[in-house]
């Protein structure tokens, strides 16, 4: 593994170079292939982990209905659902199901998990995208600025700001945002993804995506689009700032790292302006590690989504997860968590590929 600097300033003959030269030999295609194959163990491990954890709690039936049914009724249903078979058998079966995209049926409100995922996945996706946009808009320029002004006071301010973004629990931030914009100023809606009338109209859409912005665009009424967007503002900020904080620090550190590289000095010695040094010469090499790490932010993002969605009644997977958790519906929880695992794995895959594409040492 290499530090940012080593990434870009590798002396010839050092291990990086060697493997590097090999990668070049193999080319991008092989890299993508390897990286793609890596998805499976990751997903597999997470799914297994979740499955085993969930089983240690006991079977889902008892968990969700234990309060209501008497012993024999429970036994019946447990048997019917096959939860009394050896765990390994259930496990194999479960894997099979996941492979065929069938995650089972929720116990508390018997809906097919796949439906749940489809219905609420869009919402979470939408929120995540908004949040990322906020994070990028806030995090990356400020990060560069901080690197540019490093160790002067604006830098310090920005960094403390970044930490604050991160240090404020999403739900607390959400609370304050609601209070200020929703209650005191009353300029923004405090909950939900759209007003009743909007949602009613969306219900009528023949092919609704569950991604409200798209649906709103389908309807095409600017008022509705505005309505949808205005509902997204606060959640996006609450969740976005969380990640923005990390981005800011990420960009700062790596840009500073590359700023101290010889080639930046070299460029400087040819009269390239300081700003351009940051903007171009230092930023792009820094981008490779940044992107890779940004990949890991998806985890932070999804974790935050659970809290954000609950705070803002943003009815997405995170929100549902919280709901099912309190209903002790572990089949549902298991399903959602498994999906999130897949999402995480795939995102990291994509991100690594993008990073590789940016890195000419891999591209061919």
């Amino acid at each position: 593994m290499t530090t940012t600097a080593a990434e870009v300033t590798t002396p010839p003959g050092a291990p990086e170079q060697k493997s590097r030269s090999k990668v070049r030999g193999g080319g991008l295609g092989r890299y993508i292939l390897i990286r793609f194959l890596l998805i499976f163990p990751t997903v597999f491990i997470l799914v297994t982990l979740v499955f085993l954890l969930m089983r240690t709690i006991g079977d889902p039936i008892t968990a969700s209905l234990g309060g209501r049914l008497n012993a024999e009724q429970l036994q019946e249903r447990i048997h019917a659902a096959g939860y009394d078979r050896p765990v390994i058998v259930q496990y194999v079966e479960y894997l099979g199901q996941i492979f065929t995209g069938n995650f089972g049926t929720t116990i508390s409100d018997n809906r097919p998990i796949s439906t749940v995922l489809l219905t609420y996945g869009g919402a979470t996706l939408e929120l995540a995208v908004y949040a990322l946009i906020v994070a990028f808009i806030v995090g990356i320029p400020l990060g560069m600025l901080a690197a540019y002004l490093r160790d002067r006071w604006p830098d310090a301010v920005l960094r403390v700001l970044a930490i604050l973004f991160y240090a404020t629990p999403v739900f607390f931030a959400g609370l304050l945002l609601k209070l200020v914009f929703g209650v005191w100023l009353g300029v923004l809606p405090i909950a939900g993804r759209a007003t009743t009338s909007t949602e009613l109209q969306m219900q009528l859409l023949p092919n609704k995506t569950g991604i409200y912005l798209i649906d709103a665009l389908q309807i095409g009424d600017p008022a509705i689009i505005g309505d949808v967007l205005s509902h997204a503002v606060l959640p996006a900020i609450a969740l976005g700032l969380l990640t923005a904080g990390v981005f800011l620090r990420l960009v700062r550190t790596n840009v500073i790292g590359t700023l101290s590289a010889d080639y930046v000095d070299a460029a400087r010695s040819r009269g390239v302006s300081e700003f351009r040094l940051v903007r171009k010469h230092a930023y792009k090499p820094a981008l490779i590690p940044i992107i890779t790490v940004i990949g890991l932010q998806i985890a932070l993002l999804l974790g935050g989504a659970v809290l954000t969605e609950t705070t803002f009644e943003w009815k997405g997977l995170g929100f549902m997860l919280a709901q099912y958790l309190s209903a002790r519906d572990f089949v549902a929880v298991q399903g959602i968590v498994a999906l999130l695992a897949v999402i995480v794995a795939i995102t990291n895959f994509i991100v690594d590929i993008v990073a590789a594409l940016i890195d000419p040492r891999v591209r061919y």
Binding site: V8, P12, G271
Partner: protein
């Protein structure tokens, strides 16, 4: 083309002093330096590491970090770099003075094409359309001898060889045709053969582009090859300045004298060699190391074909005998050394070390033999555990092999060893970073001989050291070898250095052993063309002779 006429002053440094604010108080890096360079002239700044060469160079382009404060004057044209405004500084960077960096692979931005990077320089100083910039880039790449430039202009740095990278770096410097080129150790990272080519290129810069060149180096050979005038720096001061012939002819300052004396000359070794050969003749014994068409392949990852670093190499090392192993970077020297030391497993052929066959050997079988083998690494800085005191480090082998209970018990022996490598006892209590490079290398010698091994493997033990220091370490090595009578594999890329110590010299090229014999044979009458080229490329610290050799090299090249 430089705007200056030949002989006009390109840069004038008067009474320059640079101090750095550091945790450990202020460091005066440059102290009242006065220099000047004219167009079409090469001024070499030599001096040992830390003497202030780089700082001086950086000052010329105003590249010092904020922690540095410079006084005095550095005149580029009519601008005094020390006092000039940032804006103006930017304007003259690259146009009045350009810099060539030591490490070509770090001086190039890995994520932009070289074309783009060359264009950056242009863009910084005027309007250029993409096409224009590119055209100029191609032109200049062509000038510095990059084959099919119009293609390569779109290549990324990693697609060039080390030498080519350095050419690109130089091209970047030339593209704005500056009056002055500052080259900070432009060839130190390169193999001698490549070094020779780059030196030629720089010479062309001087002759064809009429550029003034400040050449920073610590290699007197390079100086002799390229410089017109030489300034010797010592602890931040210029202790002597003279034109090249007179400097080599009759050096004034005694530091300069020491410096020149320390420089290893080819053929200086043959004398000792004969003596030692004589001694060995008395005690004949079976060789300690025998390699029969040895093969070492580094595993390629994921079924990708492995990389064969050593290919069918055969040699022997007799008792009390020193085998010198030379070859360019990447030729497999270290690999062989590591194989003998049991750090890299061999994949083919046969290698017997102290009677132990190394093919498919188990660490368990080999460990007892380790007490018989000493190892000295290239970089003294990293070969000590930073958290252990020198004494503890030197005591390690004794403890590991049960010669002593713990560091304290071993102390008396450690002191002896330190004595043996001419280090004061007290140094035992210091930590590695508190020793100079040379001292550290002595310490690691002490550690290597702690168990009085029969075989010692030294991988470029001096290449990280200054010439003067190197000389002393080499002496020490020779003495120890005499005293303890160990056989040695001495790895270096510097023929001259090998020549001093080695009884026999083996030349490695691309993992194959192309020539082997006594110093006299190999250096006197090289057979293999590569050996010839290697010899010819090696600049000797003597301007007159170097000129001759250069001619020969030209010949060799043209022959191919």
């Amino acid at each position: 083309m430089s705007s200056l006429a030949k002989g006009e002053q390109a840069v004038g440094i008067t009474d320059l002093t640079v101090t750095f604010a550091t945790d450990g108080g202020d460091v005066r890096a440059v102290d009242g330096v006065t220099l000047s360079v004219n167009a079409g002239e090469v001024l070499a700044i030599v001096g040992e590491s830390g003497s202030g060469k780089t700082v001086t160079a950086k000052t010329i382009l105003g590249l010092l970090p904020e922690t540095a404060t410079a006084t005095g004057a550095v005149l580029l044209g009519h601008d005094n770099v020390v006092t000039i405004s940032h804006k103006r500084l930017r304007e003259i960077r690259g146009t009045s003075a350009a810099m060539v960096f030591q490490e070509p692979s770090t001086a190039l931005n890995p994520v932009y094409t070289v074309g783009w990077q060359i264009a950056e320089g242009l863009r910084a100083h005027g309007k250029y359309s993409r096409a224009e910039a590119k055209a100029k880039a191609i032109e200049i790449l062509d000038k510095v001898g990059i084959p099919d430039a119009e293609h390569r202009v779109n290549y990324y740095p990693h697609q060039f060889s080390g030498g080519q990278k350095q050419r690109v770096v130089i091209a970047m410097a030339l593209v704005l045709d500056p009056e002055l080129i500052v080259a900070d150790e432009p060839t130190t990272a390169l193999d001698v053969t490549v070094q020779a080519e780059i030196l030629d290129l720089l010479r062309r810069c001087r002759d064809e582009f009429n550029a003034a060149i400040v050449l920073i180096t610590h290699n007197m050979g390079v100086v002799a090859d390229l410089a017109d005038r030489v300034a010797v720096m010592y602890e931040g001061e210029v202790v002597e300045e003279a034109d090249v012939t007179s400097l080599f002819g009759n050096p004034q300052h005694d530091y300069t004298k020491r410096l020149l004396a320390a420089v290893p000359y080819l053929g200086s070794g043959t004398v000792h060699t004969r003596e030692r050969a004589a001694e060995r003749a008395l005690t004949v014994s079976e060789p300690l190391v025998v390699a029969k068409n040895l093969e070492i392949e580094y595993p390629g990852r994921l079924g990708r074909g492995g990389f064969r670093a050593v290919n069918g190499v055969s040699f022997e090392i007799g008792a009390r005998e020193v085998l010198g192993l030379v070859g360019e970077s990447g030729s497999g020297k270290t690999t062989i050394g590591r194989a003998i030391g049991g750090l890299t497993s061999i994949t083919g052929g046969s290698l017997t070390v102290l009677g132990q066959e190394m093919l498919r050997v188990k660490e368990r079988q080999f460990r007892p033999l380790r007490s018989e083998i000493g190892f000295v690494f290239q970089d003294p800085a990293t070969s000590f555990n930073p958290l252990l005191s020198i004494a503890e480090c030197v005591a390690e082998p004794l403890i590991v092999h049960g010669k002593a209970g713990d560091a304290r018990a071993a102390r008396s022996r450690v002191d002896e060893l330190l004595e043996a490598v001419q280090l004061p006892k007290a140094f035992g209590d210091r930590f590695p970073h508190e020793l100079s490079g040379g001292q550290r290398q002595r310490a690691s010698l002490a550690r290597a001989i702690a168990l009085q091994p029969r075989l010692l493997i030294a991988d470029e033990p001096t290449s990280a050291l200054d010439v003067s220091v190197q000389a002393r370490v080499l002496e020490l090595f020779a003495e120890l070898q005499k005293e303890f009578g160990f056989a040695a594999l001495f790895i270096s890329h510097d023929l001259a250095v090998v020549d001093i110590l080695a009884d026999r010299i083996a030349v490695l090229y691309r993992g194959e052993l192309v020539e082997e014999g006594t110093g006299a044979e190999v250096l006197g009458a090289p057979q293999h063309p590569y050996t010839k080229r290697l010899l010819a490329s090696l600049p000797v610290p003597n301007p007159a002779e170097q000129a001759k050799r250069r001619a020969e090299l030209q010949l060799l090249r043209t022959e191919g």
